[in-house]
Every structure is written in C-alpha cells, then in structure tokens.
Symmetry: C2
C-alpha cells in the first residue's frame, strides 16, 4: 500500500493525489500541518522528506519526493500516463521540467504572495511573477489551440496532471484562464476519479 | 554526431555543454543569438526548439529540449552520471526538479535582473529571489557538509552538472558561495573536460 503525505493547500501535493486517484491506485493519506516548524512535523515525514516539503510518497519501502519526480515514478509504475513509449516519456519529461521552472513557479508563487503573506499584492515579485504567468499561460493556451484532448494527444499523461496542479484555484491567484486551457481543464475534471483540491 | 544549440550567457545551455565535455561525447555546437526575436532565429533551431529556448540538442534524428530533460537523456545514453542504478536515477530526478524550481530559478533570475535588465537591482522580484537564493544555497551547503565528493557520493552525476550551471558566475548575481559548495565547485572544475562557461 502506498502512503501519501500532503497538504490541502499545496498544488504540488494535489498533483500526486490526483494521479493516484485517476490511476485508481489504493493509498493512505496523511495531512501535514505546514504551520509547524519542520523539526516538529511528525515522523516518518520529518526524516523521509528530503527537502522538508510535501508531497512525500512511501511506496514499497522507498521514499519519493519532489512532485514531478513522483509523477514520473508513478507513470513508470503504471506503464501508462506517458510511460507507453520512449518518445512519450521524452515529451513528458520536457513538460515536467517546463512546469517546474515556469507555470508551477509563477502561478504557485503569485497565489502564495496573495493568499499566504501579510503584504499580499504588494509583495516583492508579484509584478515579475504576473508577467511570467501571462507568458506561461499564453504558451500553454497556444499548445492546446489545435483542439487535442490532452497535452500529448488523445490520452492523459502526467504532463497534464502536473500542469493543472495550481489551475483549479484561479481566483486565489487572481488570474483568468484562457479558453483552450479552460476546455482542457474541463476535460480533466470530467475524468473518473477527478476531485477538486479542496474536495 | 550530436549537435547542441546554445548561448554563452545561458547557464541552462552551459549545463548540457559541460555534460557533453565531461562525458567526452563528440558534438557540434552552434551559438544562437538570443537578441534576435524568436521568429528570426535560424533553422533548424526555430522549428525544433519547442519552447523557443536554448539549449536544443539534436541526437540521432530527434530533438531534445529543456536542459534537465536533456541531462537525463544523456545520462541514460552513457549509462553513467547517475544512470548506474534505479536508486541513483530516482535521486538524480529529485535533484533535477529541485534545481528547476529552486536554485536554477532563484540564481538564474537574480543574475538576469542584475545583468540583463535596465532596472538592475531595483527590478521587481530581486528581494524575493535573493531570499530564495539564500535558502537554496544553504540547503545545498548543508547537503555537502558531510564532505562527500559529489551530490550522490563518490562519482559525479547529472545532478552535479545541473546544480552548478549558474554557480560559476557568482559575481554577476552578486552572491557569495559558502565553503562546502565552493569546495564541491572546485572538485567539478578539476575534472577532465571541465571548462568555464565563458571559456
């Protein structure tokens, strides 16, 4: 049995929980209180989370961290979600690294500044992050403009699961979702097993 | 024969060129002028660089983009640099995603604001980026504090190659390198095939 340690406000943890649900993988779940200092968080989370962050996945006696690295592991474990071929895995990895450095940074940190800091919209970096978000979401909208169902074509992959991680909270980041991205999010949320991060 | 398209001021491109040199992989190199608008950059770069960015690696008729995804491909191609075992690849992938979202963002964008924008140190985001850089470099210094030679132990992996990408330009980002990180950089720069990004 797999066990996931996450937090309901973490889009990075949401990605992994969504993947487990979409793939129908049975798992336990434990909520980690991120208001606790790292040294006070419960075991085994504290010693197994190598960067001190959620998500952490325990699977077959091993600890997996970093949301996109966990997604790669789960794709390989299922043999689906992008792991069907070497060519699909190459494309998946490129999208996962793009996400880590682009949309998963700009959108996650826009939201963080607005929702979780006392300075809110006046936080340093909000202008830079919004400019980057605008470029990132335009790139994603252009990618999906040909009407394909999912990033790699007809079937979902962990690229979709990663890229949507923070996009179900647009109001918290005060952003607008363009039409091709919205239609793709609607297709994801219609899949069996999908749940909103706060559900 | 592999062909790399890069730019001498890109730490992302430097990572890949460094890997090719450390692994002794013969390759051609073409410099891309990043001052040109994307639609005016030369072919085949323009049509093959899926995100419009350097680096792009052409290998055996396929195009590889996103520096850390290229590093994973090259590790698998050589069977070394982290590809020696599944356990090492798991750790490598975690570090590569950490780099993409942490040090490879904070340091790269600190430097970009200071060196390549007219607003310099007054650019929005410099405070946030410096706070993140300080946390990131402290994390890396703590990781290396046990005196191991490289991130995964006695031998170099693409985790080292990725993490060092922007660290040979500390003066351009106006940062100081702590002692364990500096000793590790010195070990990297003593390896056969190493060259400074501007060499």
């Amino acid at each position: 049995m797999m066990k996931l340690f996450g937090n309901r406000d973490s889009g990075h943890a949401y990605k992994v929980r969504l993947m487990l649900n979409l793939a129908g993988l049975p798992h336990d779940y434990e909520e980690i209180d991120l208001d606790l200092p790292r040294e006070l968080r419960p075991e085994p989370f504290r010693s197994q989370s190598r960067y001190g962050e959620v998500p952490l996945l325990l699977h077959a006696g091993r600890a997996y961290v970093q949301s996109n690295a966990i997604l790669l592991h789960l794709a390989e474990h299922t043999g689906k979600f992008g792991a069907e071929s070497g060519e699909r895995m190459t494309r998946v990895r490129e999208w996962l690294f793009w996400e880590a450095n682009r949309l998963g940074f700009s959108l996650a940190n826009l939201r963080f500044g607005l929702k979780f800091t006392s300075t809110g919209a006046a936080s340093d970096g909000q202008v830079m992050l919004r400019n980057r978000f605008n470029a990132d979401i335009a790139r994603l909208d252009a990618e999906l403009a040909d009407g394909r169902a999912f990033i790699l074509g007809d079937s979902i992959s962990v690229a979709d699961v990663s890229l949507c991680g923070y996009l179900f909270w647009p109001e918290q980041a005060q952003v607008e979702i363009p039409p091709h991205v919205q239609a793709w999010l609607d297709r994801i949320s219609a899949l069996p097993g999908w749940r909103h991060p706060y559900a």
